[in-house]
């Protein structure tokens, strides 16, 4: 079966139906970047529990559906603007960046491009260098082109190798510079605000598959956890070569993030049947010994 990686998805906000659909569509591994929750946090403890969820409960949940879950750790740019809180989060981060399956520092960068955002972005670039992890940059929704350029300028100022940086949420206006400067260019297929699948096909036609990564960034907003396999299907329909589909929807993400030493194809290629429920992973999302649903049914099973 064709395999996909969705290297940017906020699965804490998604249901088990989504997990089932993702697995069925061929998604074998996902990366969940630490981000904001829609509702701003006001206590450092909320960050602590969120970070713990990313390396704990959510990883377990994904595993029950046969999907390997990785994450990135960081203070997002929006919440960097609450300076006293941001300072506390920065003290917390070192406890999490070294954990298993943490494949990058991110998503970090700019939102409104304030002074506070700049300060915490720089501090986290330094942290990434110190622990030798890749960086995932979130480029701003507003004033995007300038924000993207600035993100790369500042990263270079701190001596971070562009090959270690994934710049996400690109569009037709930003992609050329990002690729020319040697960065990984990720595209988020997210209806209305970011990219659509059709535009993505055009970009791969124009720029080829080198260092281009497709993701969904599906979260609590109107978004699609199947954006990667759907875009791959459209690419195929539009005559994009198979190898280019594999690169942009699987291999490039793996190559970029495995620089962390924390992501390995064997993690999902190793034959370990999903349905080991009675053996290693009793049921807890699947409560009280209930059978995991394999195909959809039209009644609620006992």
């Amino acid at each position: 079966m064709e395999m996909f990686i969705d290297p940017h998805i906020h699965v804490v906000s998604r249901t088990t139906d989504d997990y089932e659909a993702m697995r069925k569509a061929g998604i074998v591994a996902i990366i969940e970047p630490a981000f904001w929750l829609g509702q701003p946090r006001t206590e450092v403890g909320s960050f602590k529990d969120y970070f713990s969820t990313l390396v704990g409960w959510e990883r377990f949940r994904a595993k029950q559906f046969g999907i390997v879950h990785y994450c990135t750790m960081g203070l997002n740019s929006k919440e960097a603007n609450n300076i006293p809180l941001a300072e506390e989060v920065m003290e917390l981060l070192p406890l999490y960046v070294g954990k298993e399956g943490v494949v990058a520092i991110g998503e970090i960068g700019y939102d409104d491009q304030t002074e506070a955002e700049d300060r915490f972005y720089r501090l986290q670039l330094e942290l990434a260098k110190e622990v030798n992890l890749p960086v995932l940059i979130h480029t701003p929704h507003r004033d995007k082109k300038k924000g993207t350029t600035r993100s790369m300028d500042v990263s270079e100022e701190h001596g971070v190798d562009p090959g270690m940086v994934i710049v996400d949420h690109n569009n037709e206006e930003t992609v050329k510079e990002v690729l020319d400067r040697g960065y990984w260019a990720a595209f988020t297929i997210y209806p209305h605000t970011k990219m659509g699948s059709e535009r993505m096909v055009e970009i791969v036609k124009q720029y080829g598959p080198e260092r281009i990564i497709v993701d969904s960034a599906a979260d609590w907003g109107i978004s699609d956890p199947l954006a990667v396999p759907k875009t791959a299907a459209l690419m195929r329909k539009m005559g994009i070569p198979e190898e280019h589909i594999r690169m942009t929807c699987y291999q490039n993400a793996l190559t970029a993030y495995s620089q962390s030493g924390q992501m390995d194809e064997l993690d999902w290629l190793r034959p370990e049947p999903i349905d080991q429920r009675q053996r290693q992973f009793g049921n807890s999302v699947l409560r009280g010994g209930q059978e995991p649903k394999v195909e959809g049914s039209d009644f609620v099973e006992n």
Binding site: S52, K99, G282, G288
Partner: protein
């Protein structure tokens, strides 16, 4: 420090196990980290090393000789490192080098580590309870571990671990067994299960079985182990019902439960089913065998 475990001997034992089966560079790293933790005494150093151990040690089960198994028991009755992997052994080794003058500050530091731990780190910490320097002080934390829905973490507290039987009060113990049944964990891996059996638990489990039956579901056969010593007029009909299911593994469990009862009608049930009854009396049927068959098939 309470005297339930010789920390120095335990450190040496864990090191010996790791040295036999890990790469030289991993052992070198471990020794460096140990020195740092001892010298600097900083909890942050300890946390970082505890986390980064995953970069140096594998989650491969430890290979342990019979002698080593026995030696583990002399350190702590029930301590079963044969169920541990190399990574958690390395983490436990580091943990034993983290010292604080006061029990309370040690417990606080450990609690913080528990709160920020990933899945495998939590597993390591809960499984290490029986070799920790301050054990009684960790009781609330251990009970908190039972509230998880991550089965590998729950297992670390409940299975192959002498801690619950030694420290949990009846309420926590019963909660653990009931949840283990609910999550269908292999109950035969709960240590000292028979010593801690109690009538309250038996009653809870019979109620649980009724609830499952009412919903048209079955219960795992190992459940009856905890009912056996408390079979009485009220619940003997439940045992009879299990015998009538026609499912051999359930029937074996019902008769094995009867064998631990002094209640005459229970004894009679064994006589009425001579073939299986004899196998029970000859110890050809055990809770381990029933549990293994239920979990993994024959």
């Amino acid at each position: 420090m309470n005297n339930s475990i010789d920390i120095e001997k335990t450190k040496n034992f864990l090191f010996e196990l790791l040295e036999q089966q890990s790469e030289t560079k991993s052992i070198e790293w471990l020794l460096q980290q140990k020195d740092k933790i001892e010298k600097e005494g900083s909890y942050l150093k300890f946390y970082m090393a505890f986390g980064q151990a995953s970069r140096f040690f594998k989650k491969t089960l430890l290979k342990i000789s019979e002698n080593q198994k026995e030696f583990a028991y002399t350190l702590k009755e029930g301590f079963s490192p044969q169920t541990w992997d190399q990574l958690q052994t390395a983490r436990s080794y580091l943990l034993l080098h983290f010292e604080e003058k006061e029990a309370s500050s040690w417990v606080n530091a450990l609690n913080k580590l528990f709160e920020t731990a990933d899945m495998h780190e939590q597993q390591s910490l809960y499984a290490a309870l029986p070799i920790m320097p301050y054990q009684l002080e960790m009781k609330e934390r251990a009970i908190e571990g039972l509230r998880t829905n991550i089965s590998s973490v729950f297992d670390a507290v409940a299975l192959n671990n002498p801690y619950p039987a030694e420290y949990f009060d009846e309420r926590a113990w019963n909660q653990m067994v009931l949840k283990a049944i609910f999550m269908q964990r292999p109950l035969y891996q709960i240590q000292n299960a028979d010593e801690r059996a109690n009538p309250t638990l038996a009653k809870i489990l019979v109620d649980f079985a009724h609830e499952r039956w009412a919903a048209g579901r079955t219960v795992m056969p190992e459940l009856w182990r905890f009912v056996g010593p408390f079979i009485n007029e009220e619940n003997i009909s439940d045992i009879e019902k299990v015998l009538q299911t026609g499912d051999p593994i359930q029937q074996k469990a019902a008769l094995l439960a009867c064998s631990s009862s002094d209640f005459a009608p229970a004894k009679k049930l064994i006589d009425q089913n001579p073939e299986m009854g004899n196998a029970v009396l000859n110890e050809e049927i055990t809770w381990e065998l029933i549990g293994e068959e239920f979990q993994y098939g024959k």
